[in-house]
Structures are given as structure tokens and as C-alpha cells.
């Protein structure tokens, strides 16, 4: 059936048609929808795991048990899952196992711009890279067979523009894949030194065989045009090359970036006058060409930074830019902001008011870094706020304790914050950790997690008791506040920072965008009472602006959280009775 699908839905469809029986993932833009689409199917098990390492290990277990399995994650998630990945390369698989990883060139929603191909090369695992939705479906499906034929996990590399672009696919039926019975094979599956030493040569042999396969595999292809210019490209860059040149130049499209073919590339290079490599992020194909003794035009013309477009290609080839028109007045920037009624705002306001140093983490609350709150001091990776504050306090002079907190969301805390908290309790730093518990995984679009009490299908599930968890690791001071209540926030922050021992404040209120959250009618400003002090403006609420010198609240945006009401010293803000 002909359908328009985003790349991620097409991956889900490909895995489904390929007979997948198990998927475990942790959400991460731009990979999240792969697992969400599979969760709509009842013929397989789908789940959100606490983090990517758990997800990949669960998928490995399912493969061992004999069902085709997968997990999906964003590029930085593969760092978390790197530990099992590098050794799964040694064990190989039982039933096929596919690791879907989505890179984010240009960092639309990420903290770095790393290139996942390095993980494939370093872990010695084959990688496929589709360039549109039809290929996403086909490659995902084919990845299972490749995984089983070569006894290896296979990485499917996506990027934002393939994951989140819709193009036409033809869907098919689901293959009936019989379970592969589990057999005890200690020398294959127990990776202790004696056995691992026997497996390493197997890995090297497999990669050599895959390199041979790459010469004629269906994932790499040559499209001959004129031979003045030959372009080696892959992924979304292929589309930009075709957009600019159509069928006029010769193109070697790489669909399997690891291992790369040798003869296919040298033969192609020999037939063209000028060789170019056009790839986003790092010069992986280009470096491979140089090892083969070729000297292509590459990163000197096509940047390591950001993502490409047809404009990037046209400009590099000296094609004149298209005529444009623009207004003389520059449009002010519109950065993303915390929503009206976001429960994080009240806590951030309290921290800023008290001039607290705030080690931040990954999630919606990273937006607390933006003006006017400017609440954050650092954001590194998932969990780093909690681990980091311990070192920050022990590494700094005495003066920083009592003035520093870590903030982390509920899902991120479960992902990798709890291990940092154990370290705080075990190695004794007087850290205060604030868990911003909005009862959902917010930034990636509302996924359930182990603290919400519901699983990926929305069915009731085991629920982590955050208070009990924190106490059980050795934190004696654990308290809960409502971030809409500014005086309660203030009291909690001051008291816990004054305490000479570790503490956790759970700032708890569900995300205002959740469907079950009932919002109040908007509040409004009485312009006669407003003294234009702009104290309410310090919240950075998108509903509040100054109009004609007085604060004004946009009734279409305000959800009546009442935080600004508590701030106004003149009683100028009121809600409906």
C-alpha cells in the first residue's frame, strides 16, 4: 500500500514487516517515533526502558531467546549503550538484532553533533544508512537478515532529515519468522577473557567478509551520468546532490557506511575526472578514500559543521544563488521557551531569586537557561547534574555549599541521575538535588517512564516511588513541594540548602500540556493597580508582556497557574472567582 511516512515510521514498518518480536528503547529526538509506531502493534513486545544501555541489553536478551529484536535511540544514547554494543560485536546474536540510531546534524534538539559512524567503526559492527522513507523501510527490514547471516548486531543510522521527513513508501505484509531456539553456547555468549580471545578473530573475519559483501551489496549503488564529476555521498546528502544535479553527474551512493567498499570506490574514482565526497559531519568516507590513495574534494568545501541542503551543494559548485526578497526590518528571534503554566518555572524563579548556582540536565527544563530566567550554570549530558554537583561541592571552596543545587527531570533521574545520587549519599557531599517531577518525559513529546505508573501502551505498570527510592539510597532529607506555590519552594530551598547533609527536593506537578491536567481560566492584570514594576516579567512567561507601559496577560495563552499572582506586590493580577 502506498503511504506517506516519516522515516521513523518507515523504520518501524520495516522492522514490523521483518518480523520483529521485541523492541526496547529510551526516547530521544529525533529517534522517538520508531518505538512509538511499533507500540501500536500488538504482535510484538514494545517498551520504554529506563535508559539506552538497559534497552540494548534487553534487546540482546530477546535476540538470545530467539526473536528478532531492536532498540532505538538518539546519537548520544548510543554512548550510553556503547558498553553492551562493543561486546555484542563479539558475542554476535541469535535472532537478528537492529540498533536504530538517529544523528542530529545542526543540533535541532541535541547537545552535540557527534557522528555515529565512529561507533560502528570502533565497535566493528556493520551500519546501514537510508536516505529517505522508502529506504528506511527497506533497510530496516533487510537489516534483520544481514544480522542473522553475519551473526552480528546491525546499526541503522538515521539523521533528523531522514527521521522527520515524510516521503512515499510501499508497505507490505509481515514476514512469518520462526523463533530460533536458544542453545547454550558458553564460548559464544560468555565474554570472559578465555572466550573473548576466541571471539575477537571471529569479529575481524566477519568484518573482512562484510567488506567483501560491501562491494556488491544492494545498499551501495552507482548512478552513472557524465563522468566530468563523480560524487560519493550517503544519507540525506544524496537527496541534495540529486536535487542540484539530477541525473547529470555520476553518483556513488553509499547505503552501508561500515564497512566501506574498496574496489567499488576505486573503480568509480578511476572513471570520473573529478572526485567529490559529500557527507554530513565527519569525513568518514573521505578518510577512507584517502587510505585508498585517492584525493577527493571533501571537507575543504563541505563543512564538518551543521547540516547540508541543496544550497550547500550549489554554492560549493559555484552555482549562483537564487533571487530573494526580504523585509528591511529584521525579525526578532523566536527561541523556544518554557510553556505558559510550565511547572518548572516557579522553582527556577525561586532559585534565581536566591542567586543559587544551578547544575542543569537534559530535558524541557534546559530551557531555564534562556533569558530572562538565565537559571542554569551547566548542562552536559543525561544525569550529569547529580553526579556533577558532588564533585562541584567537594572540589570547590567551602563557600559553594549552601548555594548550589542540581536540577533533573523525573525521567532523566531514572535514566542516570539515581547513580549520581547514590554517589552523593555514599561519598558524602552536602548536595541538594531537585527532581523536577512533571510526571512524564516531556521534551521528546510525552512518553511514559518508570515514575508515571503507565507503560508505553498507556496501561497501568510498576511505578517507582521517588521518595522511597531516594531514602533507600541513604538520603535522609527528602521532601515534596508544589512548584506553583512560591513560598513553599522558597522555604524548601532555603531549609535544604542550610542542612549540613545531602537532600532531595521533589518539585512535583504534572506537565501542563498533559491531556488529563485541568487548567484554570486565565488571570488578568488590572492596569489601574499595575505599577509597572515588571516583577512578573522576571518569570519569562510567554503569556505576560508589557503593553502601553503596563503588564498585560494574553488570555489565549494563559492557563491560570497563578505564579505571577503570587509575585505581584500590588494585587494587580487576579483570576476569575
Amino acid at each position: 500500500m502506498k503511504k506517506l511516512m516519516i522515516g521513523n515510521e518507515a523504520v518501524a514498518q520495516g522492522l514490523y514487516e521483518g518480523g520483529i518480536g521485541f523492541i526496547s528503547s529510551y526516547p530521544g529526538t529525533p529517534s522517538t517515533e520508531i518505538t512509538e509506531f511499533l507500540a501500536k502493534r500488538d504482535e510484538l513486545h514494545s517498551e520504554w526502558a529506563p535508559n539506552e544501555k538497559v534497552a540494548l541489553e534487553a534487546a540482546f536478551g530477546a535476540s538470545l531467546a530467539g526473536v528478532r529484536s531492536a532498540c532505538a535511540m538518539k546519537h548520544v544514547g548510543l554512548n550510553v549503550a556503547a558498553d553492551p554494543l562493543y561486546t555484542m560485536s563479539y558475542t554476535g546474536v541469535n535472532a537478528g538484532l537492529v540498533i536504530c540510531v538517529a544523528d542530529d546534524p545542526a543540533m535541532h534538539s541535541s547537545q552535540n553533533e557527534q557522528d555515529s559512524r565512529h561507533h560502528a567503526i570502533a565497535s566493528k559492527v556493520p551500519m546501514l544508512e537510508p536516505s529517505d522513507s522508502a529506504e528506511s523501510l527497506a533497510f530496516a527490514k533487510a537489516a534483520f537478515a544481514l544480522s542473522e547471516e553475519y551473526d552480528t548486531p546491525v546499526i541503522l543510522r538515521m539523521c533528523t532529515r531522514v527521521s522527520h521527513s515524510q516521503s512515499i513508501v510501499n508497505t507490505g505484509g509481515r514476514e512469518d519468522i520462526p523463533r530460533i531456539p536458544y542453545e547454550k553456547k558458553p564460548s559464544k555468549y560468555i565474554m570472559m577473557p578465555g572466550y573473548a580471545k576466541l571471539r575477537h578473530p571471529v569479529v575481524e573475519d566477519r568484518m573482512a567478509r562484510l567488506a567483501g559483501y560491501a562491494e556488491n551489496c544492494p545498499f551501495n549503488r552507482v548512478e552513472w551520468g557524465c563522468t566530468d564529476i563523480g560524487i560519493i555521498t550517503s544519507g540525506t546528502s544524496y537527496q541534495y546532490v540529486k536535487e542540484v544535479f539530477g541525473d547529470t553527474v555520476s553518483v556513488l551512493k553509499i547505503g552501508m557506511p561500515n564497512p566501506l567498499p574498496k574496489k567499488l570506490i576505486t573503480d568509480f574514482a578511476a572513471k570520473v575526472d573529478k572526485l567529490c565526497v559529500i557527507e554530513e559531519l565527519d569525513p568518514v568516507i573521505e578518510d577512507h578514500c584517502r587510505k585508498l590513495g585517492l584525493d577527493p574534494v571533501g571537507k575543504e568545501k563541505f563543512s564538518i559543521l551543521g547540516e547540508f541542503s541543496q544550497k550547500t551543494i550549489a554554492k560549493a559548485f559555484g552555482i549562483s544563488p537564487k533571487e530573494t526578497v526580504s523585509a528591511d526590518t529584521a525579525a526578532p528571534a523566536r527561541p523556544p521557551v518554557m510553556c505558559s503554566g510550565c511547572p518548572h518555572r516557579g522553582m527556577f524563579y525561586t532559585l534565581v531569586k536566591n542567586k543559587i548556582t544551578v547544575l542543569g540536565d537534559i530535558g524541557c527544563y534546559t530551557l531555564g537557561a534562556a533569558a530572562p530566567l538565565n537559571a542554569l550554570d551547566s548542562t552536559l549530558c543525561m544525569g550529569a547534574s547529580v553526579s556533577g554537583i558532588h564533585g562541584f561541592l567537594l572540589g570547590s571552596e567551602e563557600v559553594m555549599s549552601g548555594k548550589t543545587v542540581a536540577v533533573i527531570g523525573d525521567s532523566t533521574f531514572i535514566h542516570s541521575g539515581v547513580t549520581g545520587l547514590i554517589n552523593i549519599a555514599y561519598n558524602g557531599s552536602p548536595a541538594t538535588v531537585i527532581i523536577l517531577d512533571n510526571s512524564i518525559t516531556g521534551m521528546t513529546g510525552h512518553q511514559q517512564n518508570p515514575t508515571t505508573g503507565f507503560n508505553i501502551k498507556g496501561d497501568p505498570a510498576g511505578k517507582v516511588d521517588l521518595e522511597a527510592l531516594c531514602r533507600s539510597v541513604g538520603i535522609r532529607r527528602v521532601r515534596v513541594v508544589d512548584p506553583y506555590d512560591l513560598s513553599a519552594c522558597e522555604q524548601a530551598v532555603k531549609e535544604e540548602l542550610a542542612a549540613p547533609e545531602p537532600s532531595v527536593i521533589i518539585s512535583r506537578r504534572p506537565c501542563v500540556l498533559l491531556k488529563y491536567v485541568k487548567t484554570k481560566p486565565p488571570v488578568s492584570v488590572d492596569p489601574d493597580k499595575c505599577r509597572s514594576c515588571k516583577k512578573c516579567m522576571k518569570l519569562g512567561c510567554p503569556s505576560i508582556a508589557m503593553k502601553d507601559g503596563k503588564a498585560h496577560i494574553d488570555a489565549t495563552l494563559c492557563v491560570g497557574c497563578g505564579v505571577c499572582q503570587q509575585l505581584c506586590a500590588f494585587g494587580a493580577i487576579s483570576g476569575e472567582e
Binding site: 521527513s165 537527496q239 540529486k242 526580504s326 526578532p332 527561541p335 510553556c339
Partner: protein
């Protein structure tokens, strides 16, 4: 045929993703090759959002660059101006006249530019400005702005109204079908 390029721009949360989904489906049903590109995640939270819709005989790139768009469908006035450089010569902007202050305006670091559509008009840009928010409210919900704008846009195409109506019925939840049908009718005839 040459590929037709449409940009749908607005502020995160305004419902532009539904508009692109609907438009994409309709164009596939009409037999075109179609690509629709959007960005999820961080940028959706009240930030400037853009979706690209391209259709024709064979579409490669999912993106639309400077000087390439035949149409810009803008859910907000300032966003129309922000993305205007993507318009090709002779291109048209269909814009909802609603103003939503971005954070730099709210904090006082910048001003919401006045007369920005007139500036563009004076430079030869075809502008079709419509108070889609009022029309959507008349239809029954401010959230139907996306359908009102699509209806306005539909006037520039030869695709029959019935096909649009079918696409709407197939995309929105059944309980909103009547609301959206009405929003389309009001937008088309506005």
C-alpha cells in the same frame, strides 16, 4: 511539471504539523511524488517552527531554501517576515494576521516590527492576509486556524474542494470533523 514548494511556518503549538500532514496526504492521493519535512523536539516549545512541503513528478530534497518557495503559509505575522527570503520571485504569502510576541519582545530586548507585511508588499511580494483566528473562532474553535489557512490556500489550486474535504475528514479526529468542515468553508469563502 516543476516541483511546487510550500512552506508552512508559525509558532510551536499552533497546529502547523497537522496542516502539513493533511496537505501531504492530499497530494499523495492526487498522484504526486511528495516530501514533507518537519522538526520535532526542542524547537517546538513556543519557538519558530517551519515545515516544508514539496510535490511534483520526482522530489529529492526534503528542504526548501532561499528563493525557492512558491507559497508560504504563515500562522503568524512575524514568522511570515522571518521566512520571506525563502520565497521565489512572484511567490505568494498567505498569512494569518495574528501577532504572538516572541520572548525578546516580551522581555523588552526587541520590538515587534510594525508594517512588516507592507514592506514586503512594496517589494513586490504577493500577500494574502487573513484574520484566521477570528474565522476559526467563528467556526467554533481557535484551534481551527490551521484549517482556515489551508482553505484560503486551497483557492490557489485546481484540486477540487471535495478532495480537500475528504483529506480533512481522514486526518482529524471524527469528533472535530464538523468543526473543521465549517472552518474550511468559512476560510475558503472569506
Amino acid at each position: 511539471m516543476d516541483t511546487v514548494n510550500i512552506m508552512i511556518v508559525g509558532v510551536g503549538g499552533q497546529g502547523s504539523l497537522l496542516a502539513s500532514k493533511l496537505l501531504g496526504r492530499l497530494l499523495v492521493d492526487e498522484g504526486y511524488d511528495v516530501k514533507v519535512s518537519e522538526v520535532h523536539g526542542m524547537s517546538q516549545r513556543g519557538g519558530s517552527v517551519v515545515t516544508y512541503v514539496r510535490f511534483g513528478d520526482r522530489v529529492y530534497s526534503p528542504l526548501i531554501e532561499e528563493g525557492e518557495a512558491d507559497f508560504i503559509l504563515s500562522f503568524e505575522k512575524l514568522e511570515a517576515a522571518r521566512w520571506a527570503p525563502c520565497l521565489k520571485k512572484g511567490g505568494r504569502i498567505i498569512v494569518n494576521t495574528q501577532e504572538i510576541d516572541p520572548m525578546p519582545v516580551i522581555t523588552g530586548a526587541a520590538e515587534y516590527p510594525s508594517g512588516i507585511l507592507e514592506e514586503l508588499k512594496n517589494k513586490g511580494v504577493l500577500i494574502d492576509a487573513v484574520d484566521a483566528l477570528s474565522i476559526a473562532r467563528e467556526a467554533g474553535s481557535a484551534k481551527a486556524v490551521n484549517i482556515v489557512l489551508l482553505a484560503r490556500f486551497a483557492k490557489y489550486f485546481s484540486i477540487p474542494v471535495e478532495s480537500w474535504e475528504t483529506a480533512i475528514a481522514n486526518t482529524v479526529a471524527p469528533k472535530f470533523a464538523e468543526l473543521n468542515r465549517k472552518a474550511f468553508e468559512l476560510g475558503y469563502n472569506a
